[in-house]
Symmetry: C2
Subunit: 394 residues, 2 copies
Amino acid sequence: MQATLPPALRALRLPLRLRLWDGQQLELGPDPRVTLDIKDPALLALLASPRLDALAGAYIDGGLDLQGPLPDVIALADQLSAAMGVADSTAPEARVAHDRQTDAEAIAYHYDLSNAFYALWLDPEMVYSCAYFPTGTEDLATAQRAKLDHLCRKLRLQPGERLLDVGCGWGGLARFAAREYGVQVTGITLSRQQLALARERVDAEGLADRVSLELMDYRDLPGDGRFDKVVSVGMFEHVGHANLGLYFRHLFDAVQPGGLVLNHGITSRYPDGRPVGRGAGEFIGRYVFPHGELPHLSTAIAQMSEQGLDVVDVESLRLHYARTLEFWSGNLEARLAEAARLVDEKTLRIWRLYLAGCAYGFRHNWINLHQILAVRPLADGSHRLPWSRADLYV
Amino acid sequence: MQATLPPALRALRLPLRLRLWDGQQLELGPDPRVTLDIKDPALLALLASPRLDALAGAYIDGGLDLQGPLPDVIALADQLSAAMGVADSTAPEARVAHDRQTDAEAIAYHYDLSNAFYALWLDPEMVYSCAYFPTGTEDLATAQRAKLDHLCRKLRLQPGERLLDVGCGWGGLARFAAREYGVQVTGITLSRQQLALARERVDAEGLADRVSLELMDYRDLPGDGRFDKVVSVGMFEHVGHANLGLYFRHLFDAVQPGGLVLNHGITSRYPDGRPVGRGAGEFIGRYVFPHGELPHLSTAIAQMSEQGLDVVDVESLRLHYARTLEFWSGNLEARLAEAARLVDEKTLRIWRLYLAGCAYGFRHNWINLHQILAVRPLADGSHRLPWSRADLYV
């Protein structure tokens, strides 16, 4: 058997076991924590240049099986990939044009999957974005509430203010802001599944007079500056580079002069936008977030500035997202049998890799999470934000 | 006389008086707060298209005199310029190549002017950069100490750590960090005047065993990661766009993995770097900071990322700098007679416009001030920064 394996592979020392379709096994190092089950002879060639999207694809299609704790699987796959000389792509991915139709389809693919499936591994409020761990020791539900509060504090919400939530998901932030800060919230989403559950919860909490949720494309937002504050969490990753200016123009137009815009989103490692993680970025684009495009922080800020938004505060929550995803992935791994009754086997394999892989990606600086707070300046260019950020931490 | 003035000018309603060389006067509106004394008939043409750098140039050369409180002069000059249709330039300024020689000359032009002159209007510690007003009510000296403390807190300085201060000026931060945080500071500057006074003060305070200051170009920094932390305040404005990557590479190389880099500097309004303020930017480049080039925040962040620095925290202190400059300008205006004994008349005119004009420019969002905190990641891509920024505000 060893003669059929790439020679460079045989020389590696990794705690990894390879098991072939005929039962033969090779341990690359002592005490292997992870086993790769190669069930198809055609996949041997993959081991000579194990890009992470190729490994993921083989697992999703069933030709490859993975045994071992998923975080170890991911780490060893990356070490294997690196050791075999796989590098990040040097060119940006081909991008599709984004329009209302493609965006609606891409959102439906991911977010309309199954509310019950997402409920299996998210926190009770179903907040599907990076949590905030003020001390690093909080549980997931506490950290998601802390995140919602952190956002509301950064927005300096005052009772009676009008808040627009662009990409409101299952409405966790909208309900929290209305309940805890007494604001009037308008939320928009393109996901029918999210909207249905979000409205149920708004009604159940008796918040219908303060929270209004709509199925709406950001391009259809009213541009009359009617909102005091605008927030967007985990949405701008779907907009596409070519439309980022348009997107921030809509946020600018929606907020009154002196008002705040807070964008919370995943950003890419490379300023030129080329994908990260030895194929991991391509895996996400192909299987998890079709048409997703992660801008670099600098791109987001340039586009915001071009539209007249003045960036006042940026915070990276990169390691918070690693921890959030470790919670989500751990929750899913603990409930695989239930999950298998809610989604098909292929989807479950994709989501398992996606959650564990992104935890790894954030920790290893492939991707980042930035909260970017900006103000639409008053007519004279100034603003009335507090002099310091101390009020966020009182 | 009125026949010689541009017709559009006569139609303006501004609290501005024009006085000609022959004694004739024209009041554009009631109760003029400011008088422009036009002492040279050739300058009448200037009024048809009053770019701010042209007005400034005429004042500096003596053909134009200004009567009235300087902040009003600046505001009215800008209103006049805007009303007459002067727009920002649409193309970036021509840039010169920066090398050790040009950089040393440019630094000497500004910073070697006269220590006694700067001492006239700076705070007692002679901190020549944006102060930090935690509540907006502090006096200048208090706000400068608060700024130094804010920087030290962001750097999470611990006793015994090695801090590199790139562009150390008169050593205010170096002395503060050594005294209050017990760190070992290496500071570098290209200004001989600043270095001489900075060393005097280090010796006078008995800090010579903890603060070492050198005349050194950033390109000559040791690249062996010997520092725990790196800070640069008000220096990267002199580096030049073409060298920003080189500059951040030197900061990256100077700091150990897991260490922090804090860049505090002025940033430009436009992502493409074209000058701001209807000629005001060109005035600064010609008379105040030769070879100065203000990057946009997005450019700074892109360059830091390219060099491997992970941006974790950005704070705009734009209105803090407006307030700082209002203090500086007010101090200088109150001591003009003393100032006139320390610098020549032309220099004094330049510095008066520069201080009052930049106060106006920060307030009106022509320029900004961003503190950008970044980490050089550990080998696995992670870092050990606190989970929240609450420690900055304890």
